[in-house]
Amino acid sequence: MNDYYLNIIVMTFLWAALSGAWNLMAGYGGLVSLGQSAFFGIGAYTTAVLYATFGISPWLGLVFGVLLTTSTAVLISWPCFRLRGAFFSLATLVFPIVMEILANNWNSVTRGSSGIALPFKPSLENFIFESRWAYVLASFVLMMVVLGITQWIHRGRLGLYLIAMRDDQDAAESMGVEPVRIKLIITMISAALTSVGGFFYAQYILFLDPPSVFSINISVQIALFSLIGGLGTPFGPIVGSLIMTPLDGALSAFLGGGPRLLIYGGVLLAVVLVAPQGVVGTYTAWRKK
């Protein structure tokens, strides 16, 4: 199999994982974050800076990245939990914009808009590999971890709390659900997983600049895949990514950037209007009939 197809497989798994992490917040908890790329970017930048500038092993970078992302997520989302619905989404929209400005101007650490190139020294210790099969394996594991966590939440008490809170926060609160605590837990899980995705991206692409990781397009893509697959279902994000990532690869090969996003926007609108439950949700409803 040639590298082009392997790359599409890696991206399919990576997007499924990122979208799955978002699905925990948005699909289960009703916290429609439009700022996931902030978490993604912090994860990517932390490992990249530590490895490229200080020569620290990416494995340690991964740990630092997850810790930094999770604590940032707590710090910035905690106040936003007071907001509901579209107002929460509006506030989250701001995070990646601030991060991008920061990354562009904090030259001494992030090297500004020229970006960071990671030296290509393949070894397990550096989490850089010659063969793309290694990345296929790693991204698959990441996707399965996200799926496992989602299944665990879906079946457990936390999932019930989340869904109750999403459907009617006031009613859930009167039944003893603590919204802030639940929201905080799910945001931390989601941010940590997104950060691991960022780490993987940095180690795979080996080049970062502010727009490539903090762009709003990343947040849109993450949301779109879950929406197509089925919001609030464990397999939704995976199905969405399986359909969209290869399609996206084919479309950008034939059409280039503009028309590709054109199709994204069209699909997003069409799904909301025609099948808001997504592929998995529509299928489940059809089977129950």
Binding site: R82, G85, A86
Partner: protein, 295 residues
């Protein structure tokens, strides 16, 4: 450093007028339909391209082109309401966000595909003109935008408070069901309100054309500022949009001068978060507004 302060405040107020202009349509749509229109910036972009093409191809003044551009976009807005907004009016808030967000991505990339990514600018005889009043230098285009914002806000407030249609609209906002029992045609009013909100975006676009670059993603730059302004002033309040716009304009100009230009946007965004935390309903909004729209 301090002697320049009056000039900075004057420039800030004028920029604030532009921000108010950006936000009035957004706040109107939220006030009536309880939907945050993420595609508002793209309607402004559409109007800017309309004014730009009218100027390039036919040599029409951008301000004058509003006479054609605004009705066309008003009509497009009515169509969008008919085929998109109406269907999601009572849907879960996540679906409302995605619908208008998808619309925004779609419109942006339609423009990108057909008109290319280039930055265009329209130069008129008054582009670089400025007046000097009481020792303060005021640019003609910003002054015009400022006046347009005030007139538009005053017109809308007058309409909402002193006309039959405006009263029906406010009644519908308070209680949709009761209003419909009193014979208010809520569907028609929804369509009209969305059309007007988008029409405000079109007026804004025509006024911005001589002072700003026209390009397909211009809406993204503009809409973030508009969100900040509307949240600060209070979602749904037209007067709030004006006051919010002026505050942000002055705050940005002052930080741009006294701190650094890079932090100009950061200050606005920080102000945004702080307002959401301390007073989520905004300066002029009623408490609880931020809960609505969540069903």
């Amino acid at each position: 450093m301090l002697s320049i302060l009056p000039q900075l405040i004057a420039s800030g107020l004028l920029i604030g007028g532009v921000y108010a202009l950006l936000s009035i349509g957004l706040t109107l749509i939220f006030g009536v339909l309880r939907i945050v229109n993420f595609a508002q910036g793209e309607f402004i972009m559409l109007a800017m391209f309309g004014a730009f093409w009218a100027n390039t191809l036919l040599g029409i003044d951008p301000y004058l082109s509003a006479l054609v551009v605004v009705p066309v976009i008003f009509f497009i807005g009515m169509l969008v309401e008919r085929y998109v907004i109406q269907r999601i009016l009572f849907a879960a808030h996540s679906m409302q966000i995605f619908a208008t967000f998808g619309l925004s991505v779609l419109m942006q990339n339609l423009a990108l595909t057909f008109w290319g990514p280039d930055y265009h600018s329209v130069t008129t005889s008054y582009t670089s003109e400025s007046f000097t009043i009481a020792g303060l230098s005021l640019s003609a285009t910003s002054l015009f935008a400022f006046i347009a914002a005030i007139v538009m806000a005053a017109g809308l407030i007058g309409f909402l408070h002193f006309t039959r249609g405006g009263r029906a609209l406010r009644a519908m906002v308070q209680n949709r069901y009761a209003a419909s029992l009193m014979g208010v045609d809520t569907k028609r009013l929804n369509r009209l309100a969305f059309g007007c909100g988008v029409g405000c975006a079109a007026i804004c676009g025509c006024i911005l054309t001589p002072m700003y670059y026209t390009f397909p993603t211009v809406g993204v730059d503009l809409i973030i500022t508009a969100f900040v302004v509307v949240v600060l002033g209070g979602m749904g309040s037209v007067a709030g949009a004006v006051v919010g716009g002026l505050i942000i304009g002055v705050a940005q100009t002052l930080t741009g001068f006294y701190l650094s230009v890079e932090f100009k946007d950061v200050v606005a965004l920080l102000l945004f978060i702080v307002i959401l935390l301390i007073r989520p309903q905004g300066l002029f909004g009623r408490a609880g507004t931020e809960d609505i729209g969540m069903k």
